[in-house]
């Protein structure tokens, strides 16, 4: 019985961020995860609402610091809302074919 790899321990979740759509928002979001040493495994971003807002999907591991990370993301002025999604948002799975 070895210690299981972290990969096996933590399920992956999708964070769905509604953000103001202007240059620099992606830098804010990605920079925050990087400097707090929280790995992001997948990123998708598309404009919505006629380009006034963007939706960012982040594929992250559901480890013990996730709640802390969400609190930090919510502090970003350009983030309008954060929702945590599980199996109901299969956006990354649907994209897997493009990465074969």
């Amino acid at each position: 019985m070895g210690i299981p790899h972290e990969e096996q321990v933590f399920e992956k979740v999708v964070l769905e961020l509604s953000v103001h759509n202007h240059p620099g928002v992606m830098s804010h979001v990605c920079g925050l995860f990087a400097r707090r040493a929280f790995n992001v495994e997948g990123i998708l971003c598309m404009p919505v609402d006629a380009g006034h807002e963007s939706r960012i999907w982040l594929l992250v591991r559901n480890d013990t610091r996730l709640a802390q990370m969400i609190s930090q993301v919510e502090k970003l002025e350009d983030v309008i809302g954060v929702a945590q999604r599980g199996a109901d948002r299969r956006v990354f799975e649907q994209l897997e074919a493009f990465f074969q």
Binding site: P23, G24, G31, A67, Q68, S71, Q72, K75, D78
Partner: protein, 554 residues
């Protein structure tokens, strides 16, 4: 009104109540400086290095609690500000930093003095902007002040291309100034649970952080402590929140806290954390900090709740409002047994202040200065041994009496922050304790101090070394002192004289106390020089990574 972008910025700053800005001009910033020169309300203080400008603004903000403004031009002007802004971020100091940028059409071409100011400023600000259209200034400037002062305060950064500064705009009415947002509403159920925990606790301790100062909650917290018999310890950032000679004060905790403080915390069965963030220098090894204590954590910043230690009750809100609410729920209780136990710990393990009777020694100089001043003075430090000696030994009794670089620990903070403090509150005497290492890091601001005639007394504790590095190498690196000693002695007196500053040398004085008194009473800025034995240490000391109870010395 027909205005240029630069004129609009000046108008918006004026109606925001800004009367003093610090900065240094440069090419792209010239339209802004030209508009500023026409202002009848705003005075500009010319720093000698942009980092100095940033810390001058910090000094203004730290004594007043209101957002202060610093300016710089593009490229090196902006990068030189970075340390002062990062320092403000870590200590939650409200600043509005405005930099000029190369013209929009040249952004991305590696133009002369172009740097990605927006990108650089992201991780060190609460929020930042690159202004792409002159009309956006109408929303961004008020928003900048609102964000800087709301919730947990912090710095914001506005980068403005030169063509936006020169563009013209017709403005019918100016937007309203940006005001602090109301704090989130308090959860009364959670406050009730917090009160129950306090009422049931046998050995509770208040752990006060810089948030108590930011929320102007010092008086409310002291009243709560008195009502419920709660001994209170303060972080470096919270010194002054409760008078240190108050019977319930436990003084500063952590790496250089007194033994009795860290021992009392070890016995706590409840820790009431107010506006503090479990910083590693305050709590030592997080797993071994207050092992028996339940935790109530109250903070304006949701992300601090549970970041390091999972609280039993977590309340987001304004600390002053929360403490006022708690006062109506918490039972009056002198908690005599616990207070007697704390008094016993104080008697058994007091803070040792060797040589305190000698005004030319490390602790003695701090006490000698305190003896000449009342609580209205502002005490500023740089970073290093002198900072810890002052934090340990100076009798702080007033919020915003004490300004120090806590989170970032920036050497070079002291002199410019003192200038800013004195400019904002010229009626006060401002004392800047510094070390020879720190003072050299922004020594050019002596020129600014003399030009502005500020009432700043720089007291340099000169041990010809980087004392805290020297101490760690001596204690933890086999006494191999490397790159921590200065080989030549610097004549600070001549440097100060060169800048036109009055000089007082305690080394040469037959009566150091009298010399110190004359210095503190002298008009305008002066330098007080005193040599300090390089072998003196800051004790007690918790080795990095150890539990707070594993103190060395003291």
């Amino acid at each position: 009104m027909h205005l240029s972008g630069a004129q609009l910025i000046v108008r918006l700053l004026e109606q925001q109540g800004i009367r003093l800005v610090s900065g240094i001009p440069g090419g792209p910033a010239l339209p802004l400086y030209d508009a500023l020169a026409q202002s009848m309300q705003i005075r500009h203080v010319l720093a000698r290095h942009e980092q100095g400008a940033g810390f001058i603004a910090q000094g203004m903000a730290r004594v007043s609690g209101h957002a202060a403004v610093c300016l710089a031009s593009s490229g090196p002007g902006a990068t030189n500000l970075v340390t002062a802004i990062a320092d403000a971020k870590l200590d939650s100091i409200p600043l509005v930093c405005i930099t000029a940028q190369v013209p929009s059409a040249m952004i991305g071409t590696d133009a002369f003095q172009e740097v990605d100011t927006y990108g650089i400023s992201i991780p060190i600000t609460k929020h930042n902007w690159l202004v792409r259209d002159v009309r956006d200034l109408l929303t961004i400037i008020p928003e900048a002040f609102r964000i800087a002062e709301s919730g947990r305060p912090g710095p914001v950064w506005i980068d403005i291309p030169k063509d936006v500064l020169t563009a013209s705009i017709d403005v019918a009415v100016l937007p309203l100034p940006g005001l602090r947002r109301a704090a989130p509403e308090l959860n009364l159920d959670l406050l009730g649970r917090a009160a129950e925990l306090i009422n049931a606790a046998k050995t509770p301790v208040l752990y006060l952080g810089g948030g108590v100062i930011a929320a102007n909650a010092g008086a409310a917290v002291t009243a709560l402590a008195e009502q419920a018999g709660l001994p209170a310890t303060m972080t470096l950032m919270a010194l002054g929140a409760m008078p240190v000679d108050h019977p319930l004060s436990l003084g500063m905790l952590g790496m250089h806290g007194a033994r009795y403080t860290n021992y009392a915390l070890e016995e706590a069965d409840l820790l009431v954390v107010l506006g503090a963030r479990f910083d590693d220098r305050a709590i030592g090894n997080a797993d071994k900090f207050c092992p028996k204590a339940a935790i109530i954590h109250i903070d304006i910043d949701m992300a601090e709740l549970g970041k390091i230690r999972r609280p039993d009750v977590a309340i987001q809100g304004d600390v002053a409002a929360a403490v006022e609410a708690l006062r109506s729920l918490v039972q009056a209780n002198p908690r005599t047994q616990w207070c007697e136990r704390v008094a016993e710990l104080k008697r058994q393990h007091p803070l040792a202040l060797p040589h305190v009777e000698d005004p030319c020694s490390h602790y003695g100089l701090v006490h000698a200065v305190a003896a000449e001043l009342d609580d209205e003075a502002v005490i500023v430090t740089d970073v290093g041994q002198h900072q810890m000696w002052v934090a340990q030994a100076y009798p702080f009794r007033r919020s915003r009496q004490w300004l120090t670089s806590g989170g970032l620990g920036t050497m070079g903070f002291g002199l410019p922050a003192s200038i800013g403090a004195s400019l904002a509150q010229p009626e006060r005497t401002v004392v800047c304790f510094s070390g020879d290492g720190s003072l050299k890091m922004n020594i050019q601001e002596m020129d600014t101090a003399v030009e502005e005639g500020v009432n700043v007394k720089v007291i340099v504790m000169d041990n010809q070394s980087l004392g805290l590095v020297h101490q760690q190498q001596d204690m933890f690196y086999g006494k191999r002192i490397f790159a921590a000693d200065y080989k030549r002695h610097t004549n600070f007196q001549k440097i100060a004289e060169g800048f036109g500053m009055q000089v007082f040398d305690l080394d040469a004085s037959p009566d150091p106390r009298a010399t110190l008194r004359s210095a503190l009473k002298a008009k305008g800025p002066c330098l007080v020089h005193c040599s300090i034995d390089v072998q003196q240490k800051v004790f007690p000391m918790v080795p990095p990574g150890a539990a707070n109870t594993e103190m060395i010395g003291g």
